[in-house]
Symmetry: C2
């Protein structure tokens, strides 16, 4: 299973202080500009403690965003198995998380990523610098095509999240997850691994 981010136990005050310092550092300096050292200083703790509570900087960022999932974990789970079912596994894992207790946090994340300029910018920087290249590698995609393929798949999943969880339009809002896996799985599969004439030059 995919581990939810930001659920590590520990001293809640220390953890909260680090999150507050991290939020303000990311907002002020962007993802790249905010250092673990500066965040630790802001929280009045040792940098080792930041790593202890949150692991890497990208996990810390996802925790400040209250992300219900690490997209790279979902991709890793999807990549793990037969290649022609990546799309189905990806959509199934995504829906499993969002249909569960993580969904509320996901909606809040989407609302903030769309609702205010700095969150949008930060989110974009995080996706471009942290997610895309690693997703392409995990999926074993052609580097010349991989990033557009991954963002196309992300566009379908973002739109699903919008319609099912944020705007809650029927009949998608209460459709059984497996019906949506059957509908969207082939879309994500096509974007990630199939020939896309008109998008990429033919081989």
């Amino acid at each position: 299973m995919v581990r939810r981010t930001g659920r590590r136990p520990g001293n809640p005050d220390t953890r909260e202080a680090i999150l507050i310092a991290a939020r303000s550092a990311f907002a002020e300096k962007g993802y790249d500009g905010a250092s673990i050292r500066a965040i630790a200083t802001g929280a009045g703790v040792d940098p080792a403690l930041v790593h202890h509570y949150f692991g890497t900087k990208d996990k810390l960022f996802l925790a400040t965003m209250n992300s219900p999932m690490d997209p790279l974990d979902v991709i890793e789970e999807a990549a793990n198995g037969s290649r022609d079912e990546i799309g189905i596994r990806f959509v199934r894992t995504f829906l499993h998380i969002w249909d569960g207790p993580g969904g509320k946090a996901g909606v809040a994340l989407l609302r903030s990523a769309v609702g205010n300029e700095w969150a949008t910018k930060l989110f974009r920087e995080f996706i471009v610098t942290q997610i895309l290249r690693r997703a392409v590698a995990k999926l074993g995609l052609d580097p010349a095509e991989g990033e557009l393929r991954v963002v196309l798949a992300a566009s379908q999943m973002a739109g699903m999240a919008m319609t099912r969880y944020v705007i809650k339009v029927e009949p998608i809002a209460s459709a059984p997850a497996e019906a949506l896996v059957a509908a969207l799985g082939p879309t994500v599969q096509r974007y990630l691994t199939e020939d896309l004439p008109g998008v990429f030059p033919e081989a």
Copy 2:
């Protein structure tokens, strides 16, 4: 071509007064509850003038939302031609509007539809009561399947709008429109008209 909504000429003060009254009526009473008569009273004008400036209530609603398009016009344009190219025509028309001067208004609309509760609710009510059934009819879809088909297509377009125009993630943000038509056209076509095993019972 699809006509942009809310660009009718006329007395700007009257038009603005109607829009202000309409926004507050829709926010307070929802789409169904707000009547043209009450909006006219709120603006201090005759109901006939509301019709003169905005046409029908759904056009008035789209104008209060600053919508760059009437989704039913886009659907009508897509439906008009060979049935196996509905997807391509729909995506092309959508991108043409959002890549043009209407894009800015589209982003503002998406931000508000996602960013605050009452706008989300209003938006949902409008889609469900005004758009879905009429879209199903315009596209000539099986009534038992049509609404889910249309919302699946909408989910892909909403996600495209999010990634290309709101979050502006590369490489989708600056991809040529025709590459995206080639990528998304078949997705929308499949959702609207093709067999979807696992989604609907097989015929």
